[in-house]
Symmetry: C2
Subunit: 413 residues, 2 copies
């Protein structure tokens, strides 16, 4: 059993945080498009960013800031324009956004982190940003998480938000997160953004290590269509307002905090995969028996990213051959004689040999998953064992439907 | 200008080859399903096979044979059953197929190579194979290439065949090839098979090196959906019947032969990409300015494999942002300030900056490509330059259409 409980409040559930989300006029649609997360005291800050060589100005900006000092007071996020591939002017827009927000909040711009999501190649309309920032700051509230969660989405169908509470040193420690994903109804909006707040006291180096590991077990294990964005950003703040003992090395408290951080990231990651464009179900692939965890994760990612597997699931087809083929090409060495494949509770392959199974019942299992969209029951579970190693890994994705093609083809820029 | 001309005859265009294709009753549909390529004299043989850990019996069989001796007299190929993930019995079926053909041709089974394509997990119906082989051998003919090309396809819409002729030492040297691709209307049939025949005299080690390099510049540079098959097989024979001087080291003759081999492989690879399931056009991505050729090829593969790029092309959307994003995540380091992107003759991005361009004209360019399916004009050309390195590379693929999803989802095994 997990040693924490789910609570309300999103990123403002932990002590000392406020948030806001407003319509600043950045999106042509008139939907909310400017979000702010604010810590009343300086928080340590860790970040994980896109590995792409083509990066938005905000990504380079955050990297530079965090390298100089791993702390922050605020995260500003605009939706509508990615501010990627916008050259020197895009960089200046980022600097000016931080400067404007710093003035309005009366804090140093060096303590502000930035994120953007939207159309690649489009600059932020700075007039709207200039007018929006004072209004955004005026809207800051301890109940502002939902407003912020709404203002960071682009074409996501639902907002993604979570908060957890545990006890350390007899005192409550809380963690919250909001995210946006890949509902790419608009083109060029594959961006994954996730912001996590926490009131634990933890050292900067531990926090960064924890965040990297949590990302490897969550956001780095989901795929909607294999495309990596120019703007992918995960930022986690910890401001110490829980007034618990500072966690400075690995041990029971650190493990608990990291498990909670991983749970928050996995919840948000799964919510993003479930909301993938055109998705009718969430696919979870669990791999075991691998030589190490990274190998297992790699196989899980390859299976969940296979267009053939994704379209078979959409067609409610228990097609184990495609799962076996995807496992085989993942780049991890194994003996096909050891391969076991399960779909839900149906064993489809054992010792590398196809088994007889109730095809109609297995197809019904897939139909049940599709019927329960947005419920826990919408999950198709694929379990693969490749040998007797101790490595395990999980990945999440969604099926490939007509709507994916429609969404991504019919829009004309 | 290429130093050769296109001729008729496919794999029987070179001297000393016969071929056949018959309906042996392996496919439920009653379409041709058993093919044979035969060299009247022993030919040196080179092969390139799937890297998947889950492999068909025929792949392991060919690897073992070629490791023992790099020569062959015949290639037997069945369509309908992949004979992959069929365990020990599948391996015995492969051995028996070679033994039966050896008896019928009165040659050693050790000089026979095997290939299969079809549903993973299904064994070859050996009764049909036993009855079919004598009939197949009786059908061998110097005009048999088209029949063989028809018998190796599964759900391809068209057969793929080519033959070239050049002159060496004042004598004609010919090379022919047939292939099947990824018209995966039936599931589990992603298999790429290609067989090349040649009457040049060349050393085994040079021939294998040439084939590997040619595959890296052709078949390894195409993608329909990123899925690698359990059965992918490329085999090339050279029987020396042209009676030209033996090519035993790199030099003018070897370079000419390799260029011809690369041209044959590229022709077949492009034909496979163009016939990808649901495809309405061929996409060719040319990358230049990379530190080395492999880096350039990697970026080209990543762009042509991007679901976002593929669906944008299907939607006739000149969406350069998706191309830039795919280039950026290919795993090759470059400066985004150096990025140039062209679509046909339209320059969409230069020095990492988006340019103004005639969007309607660019969209019309894409529409023209789609209108010309199966013509030379069906090719959408994307050119990307990432810097001033000397590395270049090309990859081919197809767009992502509704039909891809329909084909792969609606079939129920």
């Amino acid at each position: 059993m997990a040693d924490w409980q789910e609570i309300d409040g999103g990123v403002t559930a932990p002590k000392g945080y406020k948030a806001a989300g407003i319509t600043a006029g950045l999106k042509p649609s008139g939907a909310p498009d400017l979000a702010l997360i604010f810590s009343e005291t300086e928080a340590i800050a860790a970040g994980v960013f896109t590995m792409s060589q083509v990066r938005a100005a905000c990504v380079d900006y955050c990297r530079t800031r965090l390298q100089a000092k791993a702390s922050a007071r605020a995260i500003l996020c605009n939706a509508g324009q990615a501010n990627a591939a916008t050259g020197d002017r895009g960089w200046e827009d980022a600097l000016e956004s931080a400067r404007l927000l710093g003035e309005s909040l009366n804090i140093s711009p060096d303590t502000i982190l930035l994120a953007s999501t939207g159309v690649i190649g489009q600059r932020i309309p700075m007039e709207a940003m200039r007018n929006g920032i004072p209004q955004l700051v005026a809207s800051l509230s301890e109940d502002g998480s939902d407003a912020a969660a709404k203002a960071i989405i682009t074409t996501d169908l639902v907002t993604k938000s979570i908060a957890l509470e545990t006890t350390m040193d007899g005192r409550p420690v809380r963690m919250g997160g909001i995210a946006k994903g890949s509902g790419m109804i608009h083109p060029n909006m594959a961006t994954l953004l996730a912001f996590v707040t926490c009131d634990a006291a933890v050292s900067t180096s531990l926090w960064q290590q924890m965040l990297k590991r949590a990302a490897d077990r969550s956001f780095n294990q989901i795929t909607v269509d294999g495309d990596t964005s120019t703007n992918d950003t995960l930022i986690a703040l910890a401001n110490g307002q829980s007034r618990t003992a500072a966690i400075t090395e690995m041990g029971a408290s650190a493990e608990k905090l990291e498990a909670m951080l991983t749970a928050v990231c996995q919840y948000l990651a799964k919510a993003i995969a479930r909301d993938g464009e055109g998705a009718t179900c969430l696919i979870e692939v669990q791999v075991s028996g691998a030589p190490d965890d990274e190998s297992a994760r790699q196989i899980a990612r390859t299976i969940v990213g296979s267009s053939l597997v994704k379209s078979a699931i959409f067609g409610r087809d228990p097609n184990w051959g495609r799962i076996a083929a995807a496992a085989g090409r993942a780049g991890v060495s194994f003996h096909q004689e050891d391969l076991q494949i399960k779909l839900g509770s149906f064993v489809l392959m054992e010792n590398g040999q196809p088994l007889e199974f109730d095809r109609a019942a297995a197809s019904n299992y897939l139909k049940g998953a599709a019927a329960g969209a947005y419920l826990q029951e919408d999950t198709v579970l694929i379990s693969v064992c490749i040998g007797n190693g101790s490595g395990t890994g999980t990945a999440w994705g969604c099926d490939l439907s007509y709507d994916y093609v429609r969404i991504n083809a019919e829009y004309t820029t």
